[in-house]
Amino acid sequence: MLQITYKDYAALRAHGEETYPHECCGVLLGRSEPSANGAPVRNRVRQIVRADNTRTDSAHNRYNIAPQELIKIQRHARTLGLDIVGFYHSHPDHPAQWSPTDFAEAHWIGCSYVITSVEQGKASITNAFLLIGSSEEDKRFTDQGIEIDVQNIDANPARVKAKLPLNPQKGKA
């Protein structure tokens, strides 16, 4: 499960709308909670950080975060007592489903990869995938539920959680 506040969830979707028709990208900072067997089952996002897409040659269908920027973000996370627990990017006019390129370039096992489809400039579906495995050779993506914490929204102090559908293409957030 990926837990994220509504504010951060809305912000990463808005980022995709702002950069349309190009892909946006960013980093999810938070904490991973391991399961009994040591595998993280829940990534709790506490902050999202926007990153520059360095793939200016093909920004409509590729993204890349410069390692130097990633190191700065990791240092920032350390000062907050947080870790990098995932990444997000957008798919302009493409489904919110991981692509062969996403898979080939995914190396952060245990981290969440959040993808938002942006259709004609409007954020549509947002899905999360957890990269699991023990190495490059046996890694794979698995669907990950998104739990949105809407605490402190407007005047409603109640803690409400919206659990989004696991099936990537059957529900709109």
Partner: protein, 98 residues
């Protein structure tokens, strides 16, 4: 020197985010690191002993690949080594990988 371990590799360092290794060269530091944490070796290096293509290593703020002496660069206790896997991707499912 301090070596900063990224989130996905901490499972191989007992959860340690930072590992301290005595100086020498970067090669010496990697040798000591993978001796202390043997499972890290196959995560970082190919069977031929080369750094995997997606593993970025920064010596302080410099990319290891662009250091004049590369892995032979001498290090001191105040230096930092950061291991950071690459992050990239993209939506296109119709085209060859670019």
């Amino acid at each position: 020197m301090n070596i900063h371990i990224p989130t996905p590799l901490r499972v191989y360092t007992g959860g340690a985010e930072t590992v301290s290794i005595p100086g020498g060269t970067i090669t010496d530091v990697f040798a000591a690191l993978t001796t202390q944490f043997p499972e890290l070796k196959q995560q970082l290096f190919t069977g031929e002993g080369k750094l995997r293509s997606f593993v970025n290593v920064y010596f302080n703020d410099e990319d290891l690949r662009y250091l004049p002496e590369k892995e032979a660069t001498p290090v001191s206790d105040s230096d930092e080594l950061t291991i950071i896997p690459s992050i990239a991707g993209g939506c296109c499912t119709c085209c060859p990988l670019l």
